[in-house]
Symmetry: C2
DNA sequence: TAAAAATACTCCATAGGTATTTTAT
DNA sequence: ATAAAATACCTATGGAGTATTTTTA
């Protein structure tokens, strides 16, 4: 399970559409599909199911989303907080 | 920033010793050092400094640790909660 | 001088892209 | 019929290991 996969899942869950999520993530549609597949294989559970016009979350997918959101949100906060702050320590 | 890097940082921060963290993580010492370097380069900040007997956290490193811990803990919870639960959905 | 960390290098697994096929409405 | 997802294939980057050197107390 990678942070990247969680961000992908969160985006797909929000759009209910892999193609649109791929656009938002600046990735190709197959790359998104593959990461979702890897994620679902790790937990041996379907989190989403394909429909004609996109995807929908399974019951477990919804529970997973609820657990994932705090991680993605906190990761976003970290990237904002620790990004582009001038360095007071000695140089890297 | 990857979840893997955050787990590495958390382990190093706990041990204050890269070599021992590497053992805990089942990784080589250079692999841990490299991921720390990549993480620090991303934020353009030293999070740890080398000492003779290990490492210590910078002020920013301590703040980063505080921000990272909830992510690592929640990720652990997810892996426990969603691991090895028998699948009620259709097969993958 | 003795731990521990950093560097150099090589290798392989994983992630991504393009092209195409399959699915579902 | 059409939009979307899945598959196949290839390539490239990133992450890991071993061996070695450098650092710090």
């Amino acid at each position: 399970m990678t942070l990247h996969q969680l961000r992908i899942f969160e985006s797909v869950a929000r759009h209910l559409n892999i193609t649109r999520a791929a656009k938002e993530l600046h990735m190709s549609q197959p790359a998104v599909s593959q990461q979702l597949k890897i994620l679902q294989r790790q937990f041996a559970h379907k989190l989403i199911v394909t429909t004609g016009h996109g995807v929908k979350l399974t019951e477990r997918g919804q529970a997973f989303l609820d657990a994932v959101r705090p991680i993605v949100e906190q990761a976003d906060r970290i990237e904002i907080t620790f990004r582009n702050v001038e360095c007071k320590e000695t140089s890297l």
